[in-house]
């Protein structure tokens, strides 16, 4: 299997799906001539022409709402936002239009829309560094994925593009340069709604999301050295959410830590905790531990950012606490 970066994997998925289906288009700010501010889409305009790949004005409402309109009328648009934070700028279009247009009109239309949202803190402050998945998990009608490695990045994006529903695709900026094996062939897909067990273990369940997955794997390795067997679960897709895999794991381990780059209150860990309390209370022998941002906006200075963003040490400490 070839080893490529997460960024290359995203691009491969875009190219393959645009080749396969002429109704797939891609637009956003600086995606065509510049190739995207994170350089994901470089060359696509030359491959697919300037009707299918184009630059837009700085108009996030029109971009996302336009995606809904294009999807209603037979295209499969992929909208690139420059930063996931700008989902709020298009709040109405994301939550009420993409999420609810189909339902409000009795299922008369499908909305095969993908919004690509670069996420994650990189010392650029409160409005350019969020992982806002949890906000949108609460919104009915939106699917949400957050791949943690190149293979999933590719496979989930292909599934998202072919899905007939709106999908928010969160690509973590700090993962772009990470490398991994990605199966060859246009048929490689990762289904939405299926968690991956990134590492098996028996003593503790560690659910990690997006950029927290590589960190969680290192923590598991370290804990293995100390004699603890940690199971690392990567949900990959947050809506639909594979509750079963987590429940099964917790039935085995009795302990759960969730590591995420969301704000703690009503982050993904809240839902995981609550659903375990509903479905597996009798198996839980230790309290929930959530490793997340402590309910503050993301500060810009690196030293402050490092204090609030979960890292290996914090994940390790949370696990240790439950294992002791």
């Amino acid at each position: 299997m070839p080893t490529i970066t997460y960024a290359e994997a995203i691009k491969q998925a875009l190219v393959e799906e645009m080749r396969r289906d002429p109704s797939v288009i891609l637009y956003g700010e600086d995606v065509a001539n510049f190739g995207g501010i994170f350089r994901i889409t470089a060359g696509l305009k030359d491959m697919f022409g300037d009707e299918r790949v184009f630059d837009t004005p700085i108009s996030e409402n029109a971009l996302v709402g336009g995606g809904v309109g294009a999807a209603l009328t037979g295209l499969r648009p992929i909208v690139e936002l420059q930063f996931a934070d700008f989902l709020f700028t298009a709040g109405d279009e994301v939550v009420l239009k993409a999420g609810m247009w189909r339902y409000g009109h009795g299922g008369a239309y499908r909305i095969p829309l993908v919004v690509r949202c670069p996420s994650g803190a990189t010392a650029t402050g409160p409005e350019h560094g969020q992982c806002p998945e949890a906000f949108f998990m609460h919104a009915p009608g939106l699917k949400i994925v957050s791949p943690s490695n190149p293979a999933d990045a590719k496979g989930l994006l292909k599934s998202a593009i072919r899905d007939d529903n709106p999908v928010l695709y969160f690509e973590h900026k700090l993962l772009y340069a990470t490398r991994g094996e990605v199966p060859e062939g246009e048929d490689f897909m990762v289904p939405l709604g299926k968690a991956s067990i990134a590492r098996e273990g028996d003593d503790l369940t560690l659910v990690a999301i997006s950029a927290m997955v590589p960190k969680a794997l290192k923590v598991a390795e370290r804990l293995a050295g100390e004699g603890h067997s940690v199971e690392v679960i990567d949900p990959r897709s947050l809506v639909p959410f594979d509750r079963e895999t987590i429940i099964e794991s917790v039935k085995k381990t009795g302990k759960i830590v969730v590591a995420e780059e969301s704000y703690k209150t009503l982050g993904v860990g809240a839902e995981i905790g609550a659903m375990l309390m509903e479905n597996a209370l009798e198996y839980l022998d230790r309290p929930l531990r959530r490793v997340a941002i402590p309910d503050v906006p993301i500060p810009t200075a690196a030293v402050l950012e490092a204090f609030v963003i979960p890292n290996e040490e914090k994940i390790y400490q949370a696990c240790r606490e439950l294992l002791s």
């Binding site: 004005p57 709402g65 336009g66 309109g69 339902y103 009109h105 009795g106």
Partner: protein, 322 residues
């Protein structure tokens, strides 16, 4: 405009008016629970503008009135079923009468938040352009709605990409209790076209012929790939904002004055003068409208409410492009 078209528009205006009068009765009598923003007084522009459309064009209507749907040819029993939240409508009780939808005729639906339609119209325009079709999109909105930021973003995007969208402002003088001159900094909303370097025109929205001509020009332009236009139709909201509005914010005199400009009798008189319409054909149209509505009301009454558990359906489509 030939006589056939005139009569067609007249009939649709009449049917719309009678249908709204009936709906108001049904609501006041508590016979349907729906919520209705009546369009009485605005039927001329709605019917005339929609008369410019081809069956394969797209429509994003505004929240006011039934005439868009009547003009587009959606069966009125479906409208009534949507109003009543019953089966047999267009949206399975999910959206009520504010989300009438009809894919067969390109009726894309309605945004609950005002101004939500602008980006969607631009997006439909993107589709048309990408596919190389010669369809157009008509996007209606009120004077108050013209102050939403989405107007600016979508019109600019449509202009820079030359998307085939016609933006039709129904300036009816009011946005709930807010008179246009206090909500909107410019006298003619069509003046905003200058900010996007597109054609902008203001017409008498109570004159179907003037509206038809202006919208037709914009539609033709769009169809040729020359980009969007803005057409402002000056009209007046003869009824309250919604059925039941206390209307404590405007004078009876003002409303009376505008009833004298009611587009329905005005067009009727004109067609009678032109001998396009006769007293007999007029009476026939009235009878036809009443019969159609009676039948539709009966159908609506006979329809069941949707099964409660269907509330859980229609969130996601199960299909894929797989």
């Amino acid at each position: 405009m030939d006589n056939k078209l005139k009569l067609d528009i007249y009939r649709k205006m009449l049917l719309s008016r009678r249908l709204e009068e009936r709906i108001a009765e049904l609501i006041k009598a508590g016979q349907v629970g729906g919520f209705m923003h009546a369009g009485v007084g605005q039927e001329a522009l709605q019917c005339a503008a929609i008369a410019t459309m081809r069956p394969d064009d797209y429509l994003l209507y505004a929240h006011r009135g039934v005439a868009y749907w009547v003009a587009r040819g959606i069966p009125i029993e479906k409208i009534l079923c949507d109003l009543a939240g019953k089966e047999g409508g267009t949206n399975r009780g999910k959206g009520g009468v504010m989300r009438v939808v009809y894919p067969k005729l390109g009726v894309l639906g309605e945004s609950g938040t005002l101004g939500g339609c602008f980006p969607i119209a631009a997006g439909a325009g993107i589709s048309i352009k990408v596919k190389g079709e010669d369809k157009v999109v008509l996007c209606f909105f009120g004077d108050g709605t013209s102050n939403r930021g989405t107007f600016h973003e979508a019109v600019n995007l449509s202009a820079v990409r030359k998307l085939p969208v016609v933006f039709i402002c129904e300036n009816n003088g009011w946005a709930v209790s807010m008179p246009t001159e206090r909500s909107t900094a410019v006298k003619d909303i069509s003046a905003r076209a200058a900010g996007y370097n597109i054609p902008g025109k203001t017409v008498d929205g109570n004159d179907p012929e003037a509206v038809y001509a202006a919208v037709k020009e914009a539609v033709d332009r769009a169809r040729k790939g020359l980009g969007p236009s803005l057409v402002e139709c000056k009209t007046y909201r003869l009824w309250g904002h919604w059925v039941g509005d206390p209307e404590n914010y405007r004078s009876r005199e003002e409303v009376q004055k505008h009833w004298r400009r009611d587009p329905l009798p005005r067009f009727e008189r004109k067609l009678l003068d032109e001998k396009v319409l006769t007293d007999e054909s007029r009476a026939e149209f009235e009878a036809e409208a009443r019969a159609t509505i009676d039948k539709a009301v009966e159908f609506m009454r006979s329809q069941p409410f949707p099964k409660p558990e269907t509330a859980l359906e229609d969130v996601f489509s199960e299909s894929t492009a797989g």
